[in-house]
């Protein structure tokens, strides 16, 4: 299968101010307005350019490893009983998550724009590693902003980025996590835009970021659709599921199925420790309309408009706002949102590991958790498509900590095989945190 990123697709565009209905927009300090306008123009010109598309698709195929397989998860399907479950294996990409689709696209764009320096934010590593990788490949300087708290939790990813030649800049402001890393990246960019491109890692931020990041990831959905036609006999699943931090992997998958009433699109947010404000990152149940990081969208905030802390076992979902297009599509009835708690995600992590031999990223494990709730109630001829957005190697330590804190044994799969999969049910509450970036 040839790699074709549908960059020039005309559908799904916001208006020229970057608005999806009342969401999105370009709420940025004046200094950045002209650079953002320049970025919009450069992106619109390049995405239609054949040579740019060819270069990107070539790298995606030979360097990144696209197309990723679509895999029929027979073990998980049998275990749950009900719908047939297909996994879109973004976890098999170079650097271990879907993030590289966007990072490579933007760094390539930056190079075409004549920029010599790249900056990025990262929650705990995946977007930072992907951006550092693309910068190393294309020979650009790279600085990745990362909260001190996340650096402590993810020492290995910090070293990975350093090995790739990037400077990892510690952010000691605020909660010292992803939100603060984004603040710091914007502060850098206000002073450096002349030679620097800011590679924002998810489908939020001021125009053109939401549509640009979505489009670089739309290859996920377009591939899945073609693969599903071959494997399942229909291009359209009954349900498509993806986790939603900022929402980039979800938007990448869903973009191929928008406007198709027979496909139910389900986004899964981080339910964290519970429904109290501050204990989760479920914007659709606990958020209100606000303006953060350049976009008007749902934000977890207090009544005075101060952004509140969030919690998730997966740092990639641990972010107080969500991509504006998600909110728009939710209003339109095109995407349904639900959440999975830390504990459900950890259970999903163990379940996929035991039934399929695949360690999912804790972010993606939230999507698996939703599948375990949904699949048993569906018919055997129905299809669930899941975006397995990243692999879980980075999270092994977090899972170990979580399990230790909740006093659970590591589950053992009996060698006699068959259907004797033991999936343990952790019972304790836990305040640990994992790894990743806004998905």
């Amino acid at each position: 299968m040839k790699v074709r990123t549908p960059l020039a697709a005309a559908a799904l565009e916001p208006d020229e101010g970057g608005r999806y209905g009342v969401y999105g927009g370009r709420y940025a300090p004046e200094t950045l307005m002209a650079p953002l306008e320049e970025l919009s123009r450069a992106y619109d010109k390049l995405r239609r350019k054949r040579t740019f598309q060819r270069r990107l698709n070539h790298l995606l195929e030979h360097y990144v490893g696209r197309p990723t397989p679509l895999y029929f998860a027979e073990g998980l399907t049998e275990h749950l009983g009900g719908a047939r479950i297909y996994l879109k294996r973004e976890d098999l990409l170079h650097t271990g998550a879907h993030k590289i689709n966007n990072a490579l696209g933007q760094v390539l764009l930056a190079k075409e724009m004549g920029k010599t320096r790249i900056i990025a934010e990262t929650g705990a590593g995946q977007h930072g590693v992907a951006t550092a990788t693309a910068a190393a490949l294309l020979g650009l300087d790279c600085v990745v902003y990362m909260g001190e708290e996340d650096m402590r939790r993810q020492r290995l990813n910090v070293y990975r980025m350093q090995l790739l030649g990037a400077e990892v800049a510690a952010v000691d402001a605020g909660s010292r996590t992803l939100k603060d890393a984004i603040n710091e990246a914007f502060r850098d960019w206000v002073a450096s835009f002349a030679d620097t491109h800011y590679v924002l890692g998810t489908v939020t931020g001021p125009e053109p970021y939401p549509r640009m990041v979505r489009q670089f990831h739309s290859v996920i959905g377009s591939e899945a659709r073609r693969q599903l036609r071959r494997l399942a006999g229909t291009p359209d699943p009954d349900v498509a599921v993806a986790c939603v931090g900022g929402g980039s992997n979800a938007m990448g998958l869903f973009s191929a199925f928008l406007g198709q009433p027979d496909v139910l699109l389900v986004g899964v947010e981080a339910g964290g420790r519970g429904p109290e404000l501050g204990d989760h990152a479920a914007r659709f149940s606990g958020g209100t309309l606000g303006v953060l990081h350049g976009a008007r969208t749902l934000v977890l905030q207090d009544e005075e408009g101060q952004v509140v802390g969030t919690h998730s076992v997966s740092a990639g979902l641990d972010y107080p706002a969500v991509g504006p297009e998600h909110v728009f599509l939710h209003d339109q009835g095109q995407i349904e949102f639900t959440s999975a708690t830390d504990q459900e995600a950890i259970e999903g992590f163990h379940l996929l590991s035991a039934t399929e031999g695949i360690l999912p990223a804790l972010e993606s494990a939230h999507a698996i958790a939703e599948v375990t709730r949904r699949a048993p109630g569906m018919d055997g001829d129905q299809v669930i498509l899941v975006n397995l957005s990243g692999r879980g190697d980075k999270d092994v330590e977090s899972v170990l900590e979580y399990d230790a804190a909740s006093g659970d044994q590591v589950p053992v799969r009996r060698p006699s095989g068959g259907d004797s999969v033991s999936v343990r049910r952790p019972s304790g509450r836990h305040s640990g945190s994992g790894a990743g970036d806004a998905e």
Binding site: T31, G174, E304
Partner: protein
Amino acid sequence: MSRRRKRSSRDGAIAAAFKTCAKERRSAFVPFLVAGDPSLEATPDLLRALVSGGADVIELGVAFSDPIADGPTIQRASHRALAAGSSLSAVLGIVERHREELGVPIVLFTYYNPVHARGVENFAAQAADSGVDGVLCVDLPPDEGLRELQPALEERGVDSIYLIAATSTRERIDRAAAASNGFVYYTARSDVTGEREDLIPTLAREVKRVRRRVRLPVAVGFGISTPEQVEEVAQVAHGVVVGSSLVRLVEENSAEADLAARLERRVRDLTAPLGARVL
């Protein structure tokens, strides 16, 4: 672009302040502080110190949890203010109680989200009732502000002030100028807020470029912290904004009993060079 006439009879306090300065042939001094730093109780005294030190217009900062346009000094101040219980409600309360007594126009300097959370109509009504003279939202460029916030403010006679930057194209300068009332705020450098040793060498030329296209007074801020810098900027600007260095003084002296007196002395030092200015 909206050209509606303002209805309030109270309007124009900012314009009047700049006019007075022009008559006195000097630039206006526009100090900035974060409201609620180090405490809500201390803020009125500090505002009085600004006025007695020579402030012509006050920029009163509303702390926000995610100040992406601010450097470390104002970030820390915002953090302290929030920890001390500051909020947009609290700031409006301070203005309501002290605006008249202070006798100089007050511009709320804020990020858009606290305003948005309150609802723009509510905010505009409360700001006007409290005696707020103008509002500047750092992350609300005219592109968004003209549609969202400005009509409500204009309706109630509260000025909208927009930023102009070195990166602003002619079209953007014209848009900000047409949208602003009272004055426009030119950011002296493409950077976050904070003290700097030197002004950028092209500043005078840049400010003149803006002044040629703008009918309103042009105040210049970002990176201005010493009397020498104030004097230099005053050569070309109708107003000089000083923020971080005053905020740092508050930070370093917050435990001192004579904090307000120290602030007043500092403001006097900064406004001294403005006396002889012939604009």
